[in-house]
Amino acid sequence: MTDLTKLTIAEAQKGLKSKDYSAVELTEAFLANIEAANTSLNAYVAVTGDQAMAMAKASDEKLSKGEGGALEGIPLGIKDLFATEGVHTQACSHILDGFKPRYESTVTSNLWADGAVMLGKLNMDEFAMGSSNETSYYGNVVNPWRKSGSNAALVPGGSSGGSASSVAARLCMGATATDTGGSIRQPAAFTGTVGIKPTYGRCSRWGIVAFASSLDQAGPITHTVRDSAILLKSMASVDPKDTTSVDIKVPDYEAAIGQSVKGLKIGIPKEYRVDGMPPEIEALWQQGIDWLKDAGAEIVDVSLPHTKYALPAYYIVAPAEASSNLARYDGVRYGLRVPGNDIVDMYENTRAAGFGSEVKRRVLIGTYVLSAGYYDAYYLKAQKVRTLIKKDFDDTWAAGVDALLTPATPNAAFAPGEITDPVTMYLNDIFTVTVNMAGLPGISVPAGLNPDGLPLGLQLIGKPFDEATLFQVGQVIEDAAGTFEPENWWA
């Protein structure tokens, strides 16, 4: 019998409909993989086996009657940032100890309404703050990929490290993830998977634990471009519960796949050619340019002059919003409480024990830049720079460019503990963070392996609400590059 966990979502949709296998068989196969792998990879922080089997049985009943939604019987992993009713939802932080919400996030509600099966909750950097999945209260996630001939562990990227690792290791068919500065695209690039951050406002943020509200967006991580198109269509919606959710109908993204890119204008931003860029990244980028040229796209050089200021502006805006959002963790309404002499002492003890060091760092930076006397010098200036960053992109679209091609990350996956300086770690998001600052959609597509045998990704950046073009062009890269599978050492 074929290994059911090797199927894509698109293949499983067909197989389930034609009853080649049942949803229960599919779910059992993934639960068995999780059981065998999770000690090594630490991708799941909670496995909801009973719930998964009940959902799969319900899917089989629907499928037997020829009914069922777009994702009927498809087993998915859910990032711990999404509220799931009655199930572990802690943003992988100690401060949310034991929190089980009585409500369901809009994105996951959409998935279950379409028939998807929840396998469990996925590990992540605490409150989505990190680029290596080393800040989780539940320990590091391990990348299924290793350098050729080495058995040393590598990070899966972050903050959606559990999502990326579990997809790459076949512990779920696809996963939900979130991206505030690169948290979908960077881990996707590090694990040979596809990840898309849609336009700000495309997926409802309701029921997703907030990090930086003007930047946070949900999106999928999957094996193929087509699978990402399928999942995003279900995740995205117009939601009255989120006032920043935009009133635009969700298109059929899959219809864009396979369409020719002949005549599309693809911009190559010169500012992304950063000093000290490794030759392997340079070569990968050139390869991507050649593939798109061969497919008939027109390649044009473009300039986004404020690119280098996106990361410093981000490290004012994101911590400022985080310090406000995380003020709610006070030891009163949910999660951890550490007693004190009085109520303020209780707040301070709770937050000292409940937050990890990266979260504390960002809350302090955020508090500082918002404090009296510093607001104009930091926060207001950063928001003005953000206007200029967005204008760079607007000018590019106005010049007729359809999408931009860049590397997804400045390097391949690194070893845990290798990067200890916070600012050096932040530089991992140098190519992805501009997209969040401007609210644009961006997709990371696996494009090759480096000389050590580790996956690298290319990023496509699109116009607002033009995810369809990213899927269309992304498929061309996938067709040329092929797909990538790590050697199974973990089970």
Partner: protein, 95 residues
């Protein structure tokens, strides 16, 4: 601009995070690293530039002023570390 250890302690107090003297010393260095990094923004000419308020050009949606949900006291307090009769319990705040 850079911060000293006393400023870090003051900010930590504003953020309601208890820090020891050792924590404050370590964080001072880390925070100055980040503040040094964001100083690059001083190079940008922002004269006459409006600050970003929303990345999406959309008028803020307004909700109808109506009751759409409620009567969920049990669900609201169920995750509290200490609650009684659907009230959150906190240390005494008034004498």
């Amino acid at each position: 601009m850079s911060v000293d250890t006393d400023t870090v302690k003051r900010v930590a107090r504003l953020a309601r995070i208890k820090v020891s003297d050792d924590d404050a010393d370590r964080m001072t260095g880390e925070l100055n690293g980040i503040l040094g990094f964001v100083e690059q923004l001083d190079e940008v000419n922002i004269d006459g530039v409006e600050p970003m308020t929303s990345v999406v050009e959309q008028t803020m949606k307004k909700r109808q002023d109506g009751v759409t949900d409620g009567d969920k006291a049990e669900a609201v307090t169920v995750n509290a570390p200490a609650s009684e009769d659907h009230f959150f319990m906190v240390p005494k705040v008034v004498e």
